[in-house]
């Protein structure tokens, strides 16, 4: 019944859809971590972004405004995080996790306040449907699956390339990486550590919010409490998996998404395999691949450390 080539194509096509929000959130987090700040609030921020995007999107009947709202919400959380962790010198893990809980609670709070404990039924929201380019669709096999994705996915691919350039070929990228490796030294050569970190965390938050908006507007067209289902944490894993570089993060997100998709497809055609086994596959294989294929990934040396301007060594 199953043609293996077709099966693979279908799995990959669905895998791309699974990978998209992970990729978006990871691209944001990569910048935050490169500047030395671990942003653990992604999961909550994604939920907040999903809620805001859905609410605004349906109220204005404009999905782009919805996405913008999601990004703004995420940006605010990122801003709170960097303020607490950098300006107030608090421990990043605590601020990140507290904001994760806060943002998640806020998403439920907002959602219920607006819909009055009901649901998103009756709330119409225009969605990001897959773009159907007739010429591309004609391509046998690849057309209807891999090349039949929504506009945000195409934007994400472009974003990967842009961000790879920004991270490794621009001055800002250089400054950011310097801050992440040795903020004291960076400060000494005149780089404003605070500005860099603020920008990176706000970007990270905005992208997490965007990923949330993707989930509610592009993936499913609804908001459901807990719909992020742990994907924010997976995004953090993918950042490390991708050694903090956008192109490798893309690879990581795709690998995870494809394995996840494969598990679900295999489950249907081979129900005799214990389903729990298939569901743990993405996690187990990701660990395995990390171990086998990746070299010792170098954390940005300043990750987790509180940077105090007055403590830096001068000269």
């Amino acid at each position: 019944m199953v043609d293996w080539a077709d099966f693979a194509i279908v799995v990959v096509g669905a895998g791309i859809g699974i990978a998209a929000p992970l990729l978006i959130a990871a691209l944001g987090e990569a910048f935050a971590e490169r500047s030395g700040m671990m942003n653990l609030s992604i999961e909550g921020t994604m939920s907040l972004g999903a809620a805001l995007a859905f609410m605004v999107g349906s109220l204005t009947s404009n999905p782009w405004l919805g996405l913008l709202a999601g990004m703004l919400g995420g940006l605010v959380i990122g801003l709170m995080n960097v303020y607490l962790a950098q300006s107030a010198h608090l421990n990043q893990v605590v601020t990140g996790m507290s904001l994760y809980i806060f943002a998640y609670g806020l998403s439920v709070y907002i959602f219920r306040a607006i819909t009055g404990h009901v649901s998103t039924f009756g709330l119409e929201v225009p969605r990001f449907a897959p773009i159907e380019i007739p010429a591309l669709l004609q391509i046998p096999v690849l057309g209807p699956t891999i090349l039949n994705q929504n506009v945000l996915i195409y934007i994400s691919i472009v974003l990967v390339i842009v961000l790879e350039v920004v991270m490794f070929k621009t001055t800002f990228g250089l400054k950011m990486r310097a801050v992440g490796e040795n903020p004291g030294a960076a400060d000494n050569v005149g780089i404003n550590v605070y500005t860099v970190r603020y920008l990176c965390m706000m970007w990270g938050g905005a992208m997490a919010g965007l990923a949330g908006g993707y989930i509610s507007l592009a993936e499913l067209g609804l908001f459901f409490e807990g719909m992020t289902a742990g994907r924010g944490w997976i995004a953090i894993a993918i950042v490390i998996f991708g050694a903090w570089s956008p192109v490798r993060i893309l690879a990581g997100a795709l690998i995870f998404g494809i394995i996840d998709s494969m598990a679900l497809h295999v489950m249907v055609v081979a129900p005799q395999i214990p389903f729990q086994l298939l569901l743990t596959l993405p996690y187990v294989l990701s660990i395995g691949i990390l171990v086998i294929a990746m070299k010792r990934a170098a954390l940005p040396a300043a990750l987790f450390k509180v940077y105090r301007r007055e403590e830096r060594q001068l000269g």
Partner: protein, 345 residues
Amino acid sequence: MQSVAIVVIIIIAALAVGGWYMMQAPAPTGAKKMALVMPGSITDHGWDQEPYEGLMRAKADFGLEVSYTEEVMVTGTPADYDRIIRDYVSKGFGFVICHDFLCKDSVTAVAKDNPSVWFAYDGARFDPAIPNLIPYIPWGHEPSYMAGVFAAMMSKTGVVGTYDGLPIHIEVACVEAFEMGAKSVNPNIQVLKNYIGVWHDPKKGHDLTVSMVDAGADIVYGVGDGINIGGIQGAKEKGIWFIGGTGDQRPVEPGTVIVSVTWGLNPIIYTLAKLYSEGRLSGTAYEFTMHTYIDGKQVGPEFLEWTDANAGKVPQSVKDAVAKTRADIMSGALVVPLITKAPGT
């Protein structure tokens, strides 16, 4: 520093006094108090939302004072049920319903300690029965069988699908009955059956439904709440019919969810509330099926048929088959087997 400390201490003292004052039990209003404890969110379109809505209807219709606690399994663990139920008892509630299979030991312990309070929990009867504890179970096998008949007749590819969260009894009953119903129409039909381990992740439901369509299914029956919401979206994207489960999910996407199996949790809780408000609760163990009647009305699982808007899309032969199946089930000519263990376990 010292003066600030004194101010703080005064504030705390004031709050303590005010708090003690507020904590004095309010004068009893005489209204009967009923509580509902739920594992998930009241916005989940299924297991928790249905009873919640039944509770709210009962509040409006019978003048009960109600309270609910939700997301026990989201913010805590099954160990919390004990504390929550006792809390309600100490607040003077006369009827506490715990809507989760996992709270049996907690409810049983509290029921034994408080014989004058009514308790209900979601589970099967047990011996010896406890006089003030009402177990209830919604068995959805009969409407699921009808759903299977419907699906098999509507399917043009000869492949139908069904999925659920975990293979525990009420879920297995629905999934297996669906398969039996489908095979009664077409013994060669292929029924895809899967469990995805969770009930509240819409994306997983969506992806699984799409996978089933990729494997050839053209109608899918979801037995869950959050996973159904996503599954419905997946069905809509792929242009196939979806059969709702747990509750009436036809309003979610009227153009996609053509029929729905409901476990009737809304009327079940409503009816229990009604009995409580009229003082007619007894320690019966309820096993709700399509044959359960309370006060002359059928309460419990149902097969909700196509709406008028969709009636034109259902061939007359299918309508007839469904009607005949229903008649046979209700008359007893057809007894749908109740399977509670997944085959092979």
